[in-house]
Symmetry: C2
């Protein structure tokens, strides 16, 4: 099945060289396709690492092993396989991951625990060890490649490559961040797992790196949804090579910590948005801002209830200012709400306030807003000070075509 | 928009006369359509009543008032309005309901609190009091009608009328139950709220009637989903006229209580299934049986996570034995599960056992099963003794067409 490029796509940006990171790609031929499907990142010795992973109770071996590896805090290499997720494959899946770790550790003279592995693609089929081995051998002797090549090789049903950069001043030292991501749903294990990788030359202590990534992830990757489905393999890793030789960051009080966090959040948020922009069948990008909630976390849950509502998402797909469906989604969220204090707007225009349609409600500006690609929904619960913003896409015939008409 | 009759429809059954229940319909013309849209049920004095309602925090006035009325335990009449849900309409909505209650109470010489009102249809528009008044006047002098006419008049986007009967022996006395329901999603406030009404001639104390309805509802209406969306108006009422003159039932120990409960559960379950069979765009009816869970309620939550997964539902729509998506849905349910003990089957054939695909997995019988209209998914979590069964339908282009292509 050939997928059309998402109308919400953004061009791949220019990403800077990150000192201490060397990227290579190869053809492991996990599927019978004419493309690179293995990305190998070589990282300078002593690179710090942090990671966030799916909360699925049925996570893949790669995720299980990755969760343990990040606790050790150091990385020397990353291998990403596209075309086979290696999930739900029992002991053979574990053996395949361990073989990759051992092979790369041998090549780079490091501990296997410093070699991170991710896989995405069909599930229930153990990753073929021979193809992985040959792919890595090829990658090890390949010419280094650029960011977009590395991003393209990890894609599966993605319709465009996704990257983002930012920089931060740590004292007098300028540090760079560069990241890429794949994903096109929230997300089925055999279709479009979200895998994201961010690299920086900053020198940061691993524990603090993890703290910043966890916090940034809560406000970015945890605030997006395409279809409410959660992958068995979702992974975001952040690697800090330390080559910028800044005074090391180890806590929020250190000079530049706030600047670095702001840059990291900017990268995480854009990468998260790009996944939504490549959501299966997406025709519109939807931002949902919830205010007046009992707490920030309550606001986020209400926002996700709206973002996950098939009826809200189909209404937006149809350009229908159906605020009644937003009322419904608020009502089902299970969070503190008061129907008679609830206000709902689209594109900066209120449609209903304090539990009733506005008496002089004029649908025209809202209808015009809903004809666009970028949709904004405002919800004020009127019960407290909590607020949150979440992002999703609309639900269209394209989603059904990709997931029902196409046999995996 | 003219909707095609669901391919999963069942014929309306013959329902017996229930002594103490008189049904009438009228044209209130809540919308400009050529059909009856108001159902009035007159109930014998001293009829006992029980009810279950949506858990939405933004419930309609009808639901708010109904929750209070059922505590009093007695009903003399039921009015159902189709075409306007009267939800999110502020004080004017409340006035409209109270006017109906007063008018009918005057006609039947009863308390307004004995008059139950439900409304379904567009939200945000107060129910027009003049139309309701004229409709009720017309209904009061209309000839009594049959069950199917009453069921048809409460429908909105339903593509077929839905009814069910059962009987129970209470000691030597045969009692009858008859019920009808409307609904075609789980369910948008302006599209297809679930409203169900069950009538019996049995003599049952209101508190115990409520206990039985709540229990039966947990195992029927609470185990279905079409799209995970929850209506602001969902209501199921159970009326017991007492005309059978059986020895009154007041607790589980009374002779015939178990028989009555079994009959009630049979009615509730079939009515629930019929709503799924009329699910928006439904082409397949899906039964999901979860065993080996930590508890029955945990099994139900896992079942609903599978039933609400767009990726599972689109896979079934496409006839795809994609058990990997079931693994994904189990993983995201947030319930105790162990990937390496998980087994998944379709139509009585296991596809994966103990966390791995079966070595001799033959997809042919499963593929044949998935070509049918009635699909069965078995999940064994392997961690305990809890079990539950839930029901849903597939997710098709029809759902998108109804909810996105059609402007409300």
């Amino acid at each position: 099945m050939e997928l059309e490029r998402s109308p919400l796509a953004r061009p791949f940006p220019h990403l800077p060289k990150i000192d201490g990171v060397t990227l290579r790609v190869a053809r492991a031929q996990y599927k019978s396709w004419d493309r690179c499907d293995l990305t190998l990142a070589e990282l300078a010795p002593e690179t710090a690492v942090a990671g966030v992973f799916t909360r699925s109770a049925c996570a893949s071996r790669e995720v299980e092993i990755g969760r343990e590896q990040v606790k050790l805090g150091r990385a020397r290499a990353l291998v990403v396989n596209a075309g086979n997720s290696n999930a739900f494959t029992g002991y053979r899946g574990r053996e395949a991951v361990e073989a990759i770790m051992a092979q790369v550790a041998g090549a780079f003279d490091c501990q296997p625990s410093e070699v991170f592995v991710s896989s995405t693609g069909v599930i229930g089929v153990p990753l073929p060890k021979d193809k992985a081995k040959a792919g890595i051998e090829a990658a090890l002797i390949a010419e280094p490649c650029g960011w977009e090549d590395a991003a393209r090789a990890i894609g599966t049903t993605d319709t465009f490559t996704k990257g983002k950069t930012a920089s931060a001043l740590l004292g007098a030292t300028r540090t760079e961040l560069a990241g890429f991501i794949k994903g096109s749903g929230m997300i089925a294990p055999d279709m479009a797992t979200m895998l994201g990788y961010i690299f920086t030359d900053a020198l940061i202590e691993p524990g603090f790196l993890q703290e910043m990534l966890s916090k940034a992830s809560e406000a970015s990757f945890s605030c997006i949804t395409v279809d409410s489905d959660t992958s068995t393999s979702d992974t975001v890793l952040l690697f800090a090579t330390g080559k910028a030789e800044n005074a090391p960051l180890a806590s929020w009080g250190d000079a530049g910590a706030d600047a670095f966090y702001a840059a990291l959040l900017e990268v995480c948020r854009e990468l998260a948005h790009l996944v939504v922009r490549d959501g299966e069948g997406a025709q519109k990008f939807i931002e949902i801002a919830v205010a007046g909630a009992d707490s920030d976390s309550s606001a986020r849950r209400v926002g996700l209830a709206i973002a996950n509502s098939p009826l809200v998402k189909t209404a937006i797909a149809g350009g229908d200012a159906n605020w009644g469906r937003v009322v419904m989604a608020v009502g089902k969220a299970g969070e503190p709400a008061d129907r008679d204090k609830l206000s709902i707007g689209f594109g900066g225009t209120w449609a209903a306030k304090d539990g009733q349609p506005l008496p002089d409600y004029d649908e025209a500006p809202i209808a015009r807003h809903l004809e666009g690609r970028d949709i904004r929904i405002d919800v004020d619960l009127g019960v407290g000070d909590g607020c949150a913003t979440v992002w999703t896409c609309d639900l269209t015939h394209g989603y059904i075509s990709i997931n029902a008409d196409y046999r995996s």
